[in-house]
Amino acid sequence: MLKKCALGVAAIAFAGSLAAEAVAEDSMFIPLLSYRTGPFAGSGIPVANGMYDYLAMLNERDGGVGGVKIVVEECETGYDTQKGVECYEGTKGKSPLVYNPYSTGITLQLIPKASVDKIPVLSMAYGLSAAAEGGVFPWVFNPPDTYWDGASGVIKHIGDMEGGLENLNGKKIGYIFLDAGYGREPIPLLEELATEYGFELLKYPVPGKEMQNQSSQWLNVRRDRPDYMVMWGWGAMNPTAIKEAIKIRYPMDKFIGIWWSGGDDDARAGGEGAKGYKAMNFHGVGAEYPALQDIQKLVVDAGKGHTEDGKIGEALYNRGVYNSVLMAEAIRTAQEMTGKTVIDASDMRMGLENLEITAERWKEIGLEGFAPPIKLSCGDHSGHHMMYVSQWDGEKWVPASDWFEPMTDKVQPLLQAAAAEYAEKNAPWPERTEPCAGDS
């Protein structure tokens, strides 16, 4: 009995040993947990393309970073947490430098593993807000802003529109969100700000499998008549929400999405009616930057990568580029600090922690004016950087505000408290043993 099964097990063991082959010494390995399938593919594809293309362009133009090629391998997660963990387990044997989970659910899974496996997690402007506390989460990075920074920025913008934060008293602000770790993340901050400024927070959760059917939520919106709507959506949820908002004739300039709800295809789905819809952003859009032109020339026109013509410069594509810039610059920082050309994951952690991209550096890499200067530190893995509000003009995103700071003074104490609470709930949480730069 069961001999067939034994054979099968042997075959599995064999296949596994094949999968664990090592990457050549003179390259650095970065796995991309991407999703080009499933209901979140609409947002996942441009981000994955942007990340892949920038690294591919560096390989083509400069021969990688510091002369070392970067080996990029995509692993399809479908935004599914189990598959994401499988991708992680499957690639961590190939000495990856850093993981970009691109899903708050997967990030939450990887955070405890990161400090054990000693591989940094770069959850760029998503994931656990409290992970900005470098003292508690030495291996997790979420620059340039946390979700709580984003939420405080949205409230600040609403305050500007009302002529001052004190005028928020008595207003109703609706919050429509994907009912998962992602959408729930900013709620503590929004509730805190609601009590502070006296506005009423109305919550409209959208379950993951009901993303494309939001009529009941928007029926409630029509009944409650909130003064402003804030959205934390992703994937197929965004275009659906925008279409529903148009259908109930909600004033689009009072409908503000987080940066992940600001894709070109999201807004375009609403057609003419989507004009005026706003979304947060922390980098420039458009393809005029020299680095993006290089991508067009060396990657897209050369027939490499997946990007379709005309997609370069869209908001989510540029976000993927931004993410890869952070990685490339962190590698460069780590190379300078260690003197090595081929760095490993713990060097990468140091590189991320000491990451600094000045305005001059942005210019050097061909992205002048793309984003404000970035600086991370030992204690602050996010940095509360500047952001702006962008608005859909019917064809593209245009800035609707100047660059402004989030409410750092409100967010920071909450971050510290949340990090301490996380460590306590997950006791015994490992103490930070990694020295800060300069201490070692």
């Binding site: 069961l2 094949l18 995509e74 399809e76 899974q109 998962a180 729930r184």
Partner: protein, 359 residues
Amino acid sequence: MLYREAGQFKTTYEADQAMFPIAQDRIGVLVILAIALVIPLAASDFVIASIMIPFLIFALATIGLNILTGYAGQLSLGTGAFMGVGAYACYKLTTIFPDVNIVILVLISGLFSAGIGIVFGLPSLRIKGLYLAVTTLAAQFFLEWCFIRIPWLYNYNNSGAIEVPERTGFGGFVLAGPASPPITRYYVVLGIVIVMTLLVKNIIRGRIGRTWMMIRDMDIAAELIGVRPLAAKLSAFAVSSYICGVAGAMLVFFWLGAAEPSAFAITLSFQILFMAILGGLGSLIGCFFGAAFIWVLPVLLRTGLPSIGIEIGAETVEHVSRMIVGALIIFFLIVEPHGLARLWQILKEKLRVWPFPYA
């Protein structure tokens, strides 16, 4: 010829009623157990953590569903939710009693799942077949709603997810949590799955299992010869949910490390149901076949296709492996509607008379 039982005489009742009456079967089981025990020494962490551990856990969950659907004939679509009850119960227990060995808590958490299973099994006394499937579907949605909407269940975490804290036991081994090595978790899972499988095997061979099968085959006749439907159906729900609950707790504590409510969605119920149907309803070995087919095959395709030198994008691998698995499911169900277990049985019959075409 190799697989021939001629000459194996049973001289006692014990020998005749043994779990594996044929010597070749006993040898086969021992060989498989030996392989299962030494596999971690040869295999990489990926094989253990992403193939073997989930395979064993899914096989156990399939056994749980098979008791209810395959042996007692009560169709259920609530498996994922019952697994979730086990997982959340275990999470609450281990945060309330952090010093108790996690393995004991995993086994206790199955009891909560069993209790919930009995409650949702009550309608089975009056309704059957597809109608019962609808009430278990209601259980699935109701329980999933609870996982999302009752913050007490996930200790008011902002993320709404349950995260596994580090737990040690059995003399300092790290059994659960991010620092736990896959080998340790594998042996714990293997131990639980072996013990549970043996227990279930004996329950099914005994009086209780026979009452389940009588209810399945014809409930009126069963009632007339003295089987109480109340006890038989509810015990099937209880045992099934217990096993699913234990599997769900293991899913989070020994495999994923953290789980959002969506981990226990209806897709999980369907996944387990497909494993049971494809492996063979009413067969324990079929549960392992089904779990291997639905879980291991796609993983092998995903990692195997690129490693044999076929250069295709990650998303194409995903599409291709879905198509291959889908086609294979259709193929196997056409070739043998009773599942892989029946194919295995036919193979054994053939082996028995080999090299002759008939006995």
